[in-house]
Symmetry: C2
Subunit: 135 residues, 2 copies
C-alpha cells in the first residue's frame, strides 16, 4: 500500500481519527517528526550510515538517545539494521521502502520550514516588541 | 518569501544546519509537528475556530496545553487571534498565510503516515514476534 507521491489537497476529514487521542497515526508522527527521529531519517535519506557516523552527524545527540531512536524506527519498519561480523562488528542502518515513503514528505516539510524560519523569527520579534509595549 | 508548492526532490544538504543542535528550524519543527501543534494547525486548516471548538475537537488536550500551544503558534506568526468584544468575549483563531504555508506540507506528511500506519503496526508485530523468538 503506497500513497500517491503528490497529494495536491488533503482533506482534513481524510485524516480520520487523528483527533482521537488513541490514534496510532499520532504515535507514528511522534516517532517520525520527533526531535531525533527527523534527524536520523534525514541523515539516512542520503544512504546507509554506521552508528558512529549518525552520532557525529547529528549535533547534540547522546549515544543513548541515538540507540533508543534507532530501536524505535527499526521496530516501526522504517529502518533496517545490518551487522557485519567483523572485529569489531560493523553495525549499519538504512531506510526501508516504508522508511523512504515517510521520509519523503517529512523532508518536504523540513524544507518548507527552512524557507520560512526567518519569517517565523521576524514574527516572534514583532510579537515580543508588542507584548513589551503593552506591558 | 514563499517556497515552491511542490518540491520534487529535496537535497538534504539544502536543509543547512538542521543537524546543528542550535538550529532554529528544529525549534519551528517542534512547534509545528509537536504533539498538539499538529492537531491545532490541522483543525484550523478548515477555517477559523473558537477556543472551545478547538478544545472539543482535539481529543485529550487540556485547556492549559491548548492555551500554551495557541500562544506559541500566535507568537510564531502562524495563527492570528481575534477578540470580539461581546459579553462574554469571543476569542477565535485562524491560520495566517505563513501558517497555511507550513500546514500544507504538514498535512501531506500526516496523510502519508495515515496511509502507512497499518504497515508500521504490521512491522512492529513482526519485530516483537522475532524478538520473543530470539529470547
Amino acid at each position: 500500500m503506497k500513497g500517491s507521491l503528490h497529494v495536491d489537497e488533503v482533506a482534513v476529514d481524510e485524516l480520520g481519527d487523528v483527533f482521537n487521542s488513541d490514534c496510532p497515526v499520532r504515535t507514528v508522527l511522534s516517532h517520525v517528526a520527533g526531535r531525533w527521529g527527523v534527524l536520523v531519517l534525514a541523515s539516512l535519506d542520503e544512504g546507509e550510515l554506521r552508528f558512529f557516523e549518525l552520532r557525529d552527524r547529528i549535533g547534540g545527540i547522546s549515544e543513548k538517545m541515538l540507540s533508543q531512536t534507532l530501536r524505535t524506527l527499526v521496530r516501526d519498519g522504517l529502518l533496517e539494521r545490518t551487522v557485519e561480523h567483523s572485529a569489531p562488528p560493523k553495525v549499519s542502518y538504512r531506510l526501508t521502502q516504508l522508511g523512504e515513503d515517510l521520509t519523503e514528505p517529512l523532508l518536504h516539510l523540513l524544507e518548507r520550514i527552512r524557507l520560512r524560519t526567518a519569517d517565523v523569527i521576524d514574527a516572534q520579534r514583532a510579537h515580543d516588541r508588542q507584548t513589551t509595549a503593552d506591558a
